[in-house]
């Protein structure tokens, strides 16, 4: 008895000590659990209720029996907070949230061998640093796109060439000042847009990456935002409030998502969008699996569904984004066309600086200003300090 007991004990200790990254991954997909809960951006998981033409949930539910419930989040910080609370299976996380969740162990590694359509994913995204850490994949690319400059075509004769229309006071083509008629994003990550602007216009600051700022560069970005505060009446964080503001509040220019541009155009509001000369920040979202997901089988089935169904094609039309599966642009799986993909920024991948969480220990400099200061300082800037 005694030796046997020792052997068991030893084996247990060894198993506990052995580095085993595959431990949390499942090795095969079983029966669906009948339910799936997803934290997603507004408009990301559509079941034909907003517009019957856009539905990529019903077919999944019929095929797998996994009933999808969606919790929409308005900011990346909200997504992280929701995932920290738990109770969700999947999240469509942007790069400024994904690494925080990986570091916080709120998401688990993905076994890409279980997702047959992984091979179809855009090669530029397969090993993107916002979901792959030390060669381990923590999710499946979902959709990506630029943060475009939306403008009212009545206030602008031609598409604005620069982001200066939202950063500096000026008289627009319709003869009125832009003061009170522009908006900015109500999230600390907007500091990166200011840094991106300075990177182009004040090269002497030496900004290499808008998410890696030293103290001087950071203060310059805050100064730019303080000047912007005088132009902005209300910051936007809810896509539908921004849509309302462009309709009823006389807004003429703002950083935005193609989602709002498309909905406003569909409503007959004279707006259009552009990526100005400075380039743009952008988002690249990843479907990530919660570390304690209750429905892992349904979650894997959904990840395959996101890559193999009409989702990539139709969602890219709906959201004005670029599919993570390039074939979805032209294979007729949905409504998207190659021209549509190009218009949404397919070829602009290199112009876009994708959202990432700013950390103190950064690559391009000795020390960078970390995210918690972005949060408190952005609150101060909006408060007029």
């Amino acid at each position: 008895m005694k030796p046997h007991f020792k052997t068991v004990l030893l084996a247990t200790v060894l198993a506990a000590l052995a580095p085993n990254p595959g431990l949390t991954q499942i090795s095969e997909i079983g029966e669906g659990e009948g339910a799936l809960s997803i934290v997603a951006w507004a408009g990301y998981v559509e079941r034909g209720e907003t517009d019957p033409k856009f539905d990529w949930v019903t077919s999944f539910e019929e095929k797998t029996g996994c009933m999808v419930s969606v919790k929409t989040a308005n900011t990346s910080d909200e997504m992280v907070a929701l995932m920290n609370q738990g109770g969700f299976d999947l999240v469509t996380a942007s790069g400024d949230a994904s690494l925080r969740m990986i570091a916080g162990k709120r998401v688990q590694p993905i076994n890409v061998d279980l997702i047959p359509s992984w091979s179809k994913v855009d090669d530029r995204l397969k090993n993107a640093p916002w979901h792959t850490v030390d060669g381990v994949h923590y999710g499946v690319p979902y959709m990506w796109g630029p943060n475009v400059l939306m403008y009212n075509t009545k206030a602008f004769d031609t598409a604005p060439q620069s982001w200066n229309v939202v950063f500096e006071e000026m008289t627009l083509a319709d003869g009125q000042s832009n003061e009170g008629r522009v908006q900015a994003y109500d999230g600390p990550i907007h500091i990166a847009d200011a840094a991106n602007y300075l990177m182009y216009h004040q090269p002497e600051l030496g900004i290499e990456d808008p998410y890696e700022l030293n103290e001087d560069q950071y203060q310059a970005a805050l100064d730019l935002l303080r000047a912007q505060r005088k132009l902005v009446s209300r910051y936007w964080h809810d896509a539908f409030i921004q849509i309302d503001d462009f309709k009823n509040e006389g807004m003429v220019a703002s950083g935005s998502w193609p989602f709002q541009v498309n909905l406003l155009k569909a409503d007959g509001v004279p707006v259009d969008s552009v990526i100005p000369q400075e380039g743009a920040t952008g988002w690249a979202d990843t479907t990530m699996l919660h570390a304690e997901a209750e429905h892992p089988n349904c979650a894997y089935k959904w990840m395959e569904h996101t890559l193999s169904s009409n989702l990539q094609s139709d969602l890219s039309v709906w959201f004005g984004a670029v599919p993570s599966v390039p074939a979805a642009c032209s294979d007729g799986s949905g409504m998207q066309t190659q021209q549509g993909c190009d218009a949404n920024g397919m070829q602009d991948f290199d112009k876009i600086r994708f959202w990432r969480t700013p950390v103190a220990d950064c690559d391009s400099q000795d020390e960078c200003v970390p995210y918690y200061r972005w949060v408190s300082d952005y609150i101060a800037v909006i408060g007029g300090r």
Partner: protein
Amino acid sequence: MTQVQPAHFTSAGGIGTRLSDILWRHPRLLIALLLLPPALWLGVIYLGSLFALLAQSFFSIDHFTGLVKYEFTLSTYAQLIRPSNFDIILRTVVMAFCVSLTSAVISFPIAYFAARYARGAWRAVFYLGIMMPLWSSYLVKIYAWKLILAKEGILTWALQKLHLEWVLDAFLALPVIGGNSLSVSTAGTFIVFVYVWLPFMILPIQAALERVPPSMLEASGDLGATPAQTFRHVLLPLALPGVVAGSIFTFSLTLGDYIIPQIIGTSRLFIGQAVYQHQGIAGNIPLAAAFAMVPIAIMGLYLWAAKRMGAFDAL
């Protein structure tokens, strides 16, 4: 004989009878049993979670990892008096004060009419008119106000038709309260706060006014007081507990609200939003807890003062 009889029944009855006898003989035990569940609810779930939150405010956040450091410190409270955070507190308290004062001024005549003159069907109409806004969704009302106050909304349109838009423009040109349109100005936030909390002010004032005997007002008049003097020296002091009780609602509701300033206003934060952002978004629970302490402390002082003015007699 009478002492033997209950003992006989006890032995004959089942366990339920015996239990009820024990409780009958020990009335204190009965009270303790009845009070235990609500006391547990209040003490453990309600106050317990509140104190757990407040305890967090004495911790701090590690600025490198973003994790909470469980060591006693007052540094989180020190952050509250930083200019950017102190602005938030000041902004909220001033707003709550203005909202309470305005609500009281608007409510008093309405409550006076409802308490003194409205009879029969009129009375029902008054109650319905005051209560009805409370039955519809709070969010629907706020979004409706957003459209009313918008730059291209119905209010601007109506003023344009009346050729009075210069009044609105002049008002919006004022510093601090003005802005690009009412919907994105502090004045807009104020209007919606007053609208949403008004019923909470009218009802306690009405209750207080109904208890003021009409004979006192008549006596005041008979003794030669002008209506203004009667109001100042008789009616207002007697109704003041109701006004203070109503202001407790409007003041504390404004202190804690985080939805209205998010949808209508200048994007500048109020205490409720600061708590929400630091707790839910930035993960800075200690600072959120410290912010949550502010309304509690302010309301504590406020209630203490209100009690001295006899506000709770009217509840």
